[in-house]
């Protein structure tokens, strides 16, 4: 078992024929992901990486029965692409592109929600169900199959966390990179219950960072609803106020959004909070051997 995607998930790629999309789609196919086609306007009818290319998402969905889309279009077209996917009946859009305007995401997310389409990202590494389906830019070989679910705002910390979990002799069910932009799709609060309900997941790793209050909301949710052990790390304990740390959302404004505040809330919710990402693997081992 896993959450959201598995070996049977049929995927199309929006912006399929672009350089980045081509490179990563090839890796996804090699991992075993069922990419059934792609969309690039004006290239409909061509074949790319052995898969059919369509002019519109609607045409791609009709021809392939895809339910998930991986979005690689340039930042200026992300909003449009997300809304097109929602309009065509896609159930989950994974948005990899970095640098989409916040306003565009505001409209796109609202429309996706209205159409019942889930989104992941933007500006994220994607989602991977170990040894079944990789949708994104993460190095697949790190993610060995196991019993730990992972949710992270940061790409490389997802890899770091997964790698440690595997080195400790465990593995991953599904890992989701939710991204660090001000407006994102699925967040901790929506993903935690999915892992709670997944019979194979026995522990959850949650990696957050400074800015916003998603981790605070997650802490409240965990306290009331999650029975499986959770290990958390919040990046940016040493980040100064008012300075943006790479991600558009990673900024401490006023007294809100600090790592200390988030760590305290999670600890109060019974989460095993570690002070360094180097301790994630050990903490997972500890909670799983209880």
């Amino acid at each position: 078992m896993s959450i959201l995607v598995n070996k049977d998930t049929k995927v199309i790629v929006q912006g399929f024929t672009g350089k980045e999309a081509t490179f990563h789609s090839e890796q996804c196919i090699a991992y075993g992901t069922q990419i059934v086609g792609g969309v690039t306007p004006n290239k409909g009818g061509q074949t790319h990486l052995g898969k059919p290319v369509f002019n519109t998402v609607k045409a791609a969905v009709e021809a392939t029965g895809a339910t998930v889309s991986m979005i690689f279009v340039p930042p200026a077209f992300v909003g449009d692409a997300v809304m097109e996917a929602a309009d065509a009946g896609i159930e989950l859009a994974v948005i990899i592109t970095e640098g989409a305007p916040v306003k565009d995401m505001m409209y796109a997310k609202a429309y996706a929600t209205k159409k019942g389409m889930k989104t992941i990202g933007p500006n994220c590494p994607g989602i991977i169900t170990a040894e079944e389906c990789k949708l994104g830019i993460m190095p697949g070989q790190i993610f060995k199959k196991g019993n730990v679910g992972l949710i992270s705002k940061s790409g490389t910390l997802t890899y770091e966390g997964a790698n440690q979990v595997v080195k400790e002799g465990f593995g991953i069910t599904t890992a989701v990179g939710i991204g660090g932009d001000p407006i994102i799709g699925l967040s901790y609060k929506q993903l935690l219950p999915m892992f709670e309900n997944d019979p194979e997941t026995e522990a959850i790793v949650m990696i957050g960072e400074i800015g916003g209050d998603l981790e605070i909301q997650a802490a409240k949710f965990i306290k009331e609803n999650i029975t499986k052990p959770v290990v958390a790390f919040i990046a940016g304990q040493t980040a100064p106020k008012g300075k943006r740390m790479g991600h558009a959302g990673a900024i401490v404004s006023g007294s809100a959004g600090t790592a200390a505040e988030k760590m305290a809330a999670l600890e109060a919710a019974g989460v095993k909070v570690v002070k360094s990402p180097a301790e994630i693997g050990k903490a997972v081992k500890e909670v799983l051997s209880k």
Partner: protein, 392 residues
């Protein structure tokens, strides 16, 4: 990207948001001319820097004669203004804004910002104008009126009514003026891909008009490509030269106070690396995200920028190789050490794809200053030890 008060007020003018009349000046002579052109017998001379708290730092002066305008402009232009938002090093003032005096009856706060939880803009207003809004939020949160506006329906009458009744504005003419003011501000927020607009204070005059006495605006960097008019307002002198240079090379850099330079791929891991250095008893000198590529050129540029900081005693390169293989990154790091004269010890931790091959490359290169680490914790410890001058 942030802009100056006088630039924000230009945008306000385009949209009919009322502001006092004013003229920007680059020299004392221009300031005097500006005051004469504005006329009247009272002017405000305001330092133009990208930071709040200018008044307390001595950057805003009330002049009651042309001679005083001249005197204050002379004092303020070229001064290093230190406020709670500039950091202890302060900011040099290159421009002053000469504004006509205003008849202040009382002061409000009005701002528009993204509410991340609601995923829509929220208009914030308060009767506690002139005070820092964060302070108001902490001490008297009931004095802040928050009205979220769904962009799908836009600013409606009820949004305006919630604002004026929340603020206790009872005069009907004043209600109408305030609602119009807020509506225009919301339009600017949406039109220009604004990240934050703050007017503090927004004043009510003796005759019941509302005027933006101050104006602060920041924009979504990702949307600047569709606003060349805003991009043209960029003031390079306001930006940290190292941060700017880093950005031009695709690096994200923020300077900090510690001793250990950090070079990491990915923003989260970069913060996590700083936290780990702190965890093992060291202090990070910077945040530096080299992005997804970590080529010899980007690593060399990173070394160059990190080493400009004289406090740096060692460097920790922490790369998790994903799609980009570690052996290639190791070669890139070796090349970079040839391009830049790295005088401090460099601890390198490469993990992920082809990590053993990378360790072999570093070992065989046998460069004196390069120390190899096996994992994040090991790397952080070695970097802290190296900064203290301890042998490995």
């Amino acid at each position: 990207m942030n802009i100056h008060e006088y630039q924000a007020k230009q945008i306000f003018k385009e949209y009919g948001v009322p502001t006092p009349r004013g003229i920007v000046a680059n020299s004392v002579q221009e300031a005097v001319n500006a005051a004469k052109e504005l006329g009247g017998n009272i002017w405000v001379v305001k330092a133009q820097i990208h930071a709040g708290g200018r008044g307390l730092g001595g950057g805003v002066k009330l002049a009651k004669s042309i001679e005083e305008v001249e005197k204050y402009a002379d004092e303020i232009l070229g001064m290093t203004l230190v406020t709670h938002q500039t950091g202890p090093e302060g900011k040099v003032v290159h421009k002053v804004y000469i504004e006509e005096g205003a008849d202040i009856k009382d002061e409000f706060y009005l701002g528009v910002v993204l509410d991340r939880a609601k995923e829509m803009p929220v208009i914030m207003a308060s009767t506690e104008g002139g005070m820092e809004i964060e302070k108001v939020a902490e001490e008297t949160p009931e004095k802040i009126v928050k009205v979220a506006v769904d962009p799908a329906i836009g600013f409606q009458g009820f949004h305006g009514r919630e604002l004026v009744f929340g603020l206790g504005i009872t005069d009907k003419a004043e209600q109408r003026k305030f609602i119009e003011f807020a509506q225009k501000l919301f339009t600017i927020y949406m039109d220009k891909d604004v990240e934050l607009i703050e007017i503090n204070p927004l004043i009510r005059t003796g005759s019941g008009d509302f005027l933006a006495l101050d104006a602060k605006m920041g924009f979504d960097d990702s949307a600047l490509y569709r606003h060349p008019d805003i991009e043209a307002m960029r003031d390079i002198s306001e930006e940290d030269p190292d941060e700017r240079e880093a950005a031009e090379h695709g690096l994200s850099y923020v300077s900090l106070d510690g001793e250990i330079g950090c070079m990491v791929n990915g923003a989260g891991l970069a913060m996590g690396t700083m936290d780990t250095i702190n965890y093992v008893g060291g202090t990070p000198a910077n945040f530096l995200d080299v992005g997804g590529k970590a080529t010899a050129e980007t690593v060399a540029k990173g070394f160059e920028i990190i080493l400009r900081n004289p406090k740096v005693k060692s460097i920790f390169v922490n790369i998790f190789g994903g799609i980009v293989r570690c052996d290639r990154i190791a070669n890139g790091i070796l090349e970079a050490t040839k391009m830049v004269d790295v005088k401090v010890p460099v601890v390198v931790r490469l993990d992920g794809t082809n990590a053993p091959e990378a360790a072999e490359i570093l070992k065989n290169a046998n460069i004196q200053n390069v120390i190899s680490a096996t994992d994040l914790l090991d790397g952080a410890k070695k970097a802290v030890a190296a900064a203290k001058g301890e042998n490995q």
